[in-house]
Symmetry: C2
Subunit: 164 residues, 2 copies
């Protein structure tokens, strides 16, 4: 029987579904600038309130990843969306991130955004950079030494962008 | 008698000094992505809380501008500072922005930051772009159509950066 991947929106009351993955990804200190010891409440607030919408990816009912969609800027820049994606290490290489990316692009279009921007793609996260490029994103900026990678030390961060 | 420019840090309780300038700049809709109808409390919170430090520039005791300094990212990106600067139109061309920029670079160094990044310099704000370049910043990214300029329509935004 084939695995079935479903993606659905959750509210703040279901953030515990995603939290183990969120915590694992952030604690590793390799891809997100969030503090590695960020708490459940801090994470939940950031990903489910103030206009942020949170989605989870379920593989045969188990949560294997999630993403957050919101406006990248307030006011006169709020036509450009921003997303962050996380996948549990155990499910990597199975197309979860790509499926979430396509889902988020469609959600962003439906919400009226005209472009999507990633502000902080760590340059050493080469799989992610290639994946976003495959989904239509271009590198439009590079911030020198913007990230303190837990294993590799200072790393550049890319700004990536695509129109919708 | 020569004009004397002084720059000093303020707390949330003194944000009313800066508010008329803040409101004027934001309401114009030409340089900041903040909502043009942003309220005093929203502005005050953004510029004086959650780690944001606010400074005002006084010309013979009248407030002519101000700036905000904070970490551009949380956690593993918090060694890079970010600032926003505002000058009242009546005092432009008198070196206020440049003086605030130099002041902010020194404050950022003293606080332990190792670089400064501007995320959203509107490309049509050519005077600002040149001024930041003069103070050592380089354009390291360009976001297409990221800003809805009140008079000019869609405009690109630059990401600018300098080491400290």
């Amino acid at each position: 029987m084939a695995d079935v991947l479903t993606i659905r929106e959750i509210g703040a009351d279901e953030f515990d579904l995603l939290w183990p993955i969120f915590h694992e990804v952030v604690a590793a200190g390799e891809t997100y600038s969030y503090a590695p010891d960020m708490t459940f409440e801090q994470a939940r607030q950031l990903w489910t309130s103030d206009g942020a919408r949170c989605f989870v990816a379920l593989l045969d009912r188990a949560c294997v990843g999630g993403y957050m969609l919101h406006a990248n800027q307030p006011g006169l820049g709020n036509h450009v969306a921003n997303c962050g994606y996380m996948v549990t290490p155990a499910a990597r290489g199975r197309g979860v991130a790509g499926a979430m990316c396509e889902h988020s692009l469609e959600q962003a279009r439906q919400a009226g955004f005209t472009a999507m921007q990633f502000n902080f793609v760590v340059s050493t996260n080469e799989g992610a950079v290639r994946l976003w490029q495959k989904h239509g994103f271009e590198i439009v900026g590079r911030i020198p030494n913007a990230f303190r990678h837990a294993r590799l030390g200072l790393a550049d961060a890319y700004v990536m962008y695509r129109a919708l």
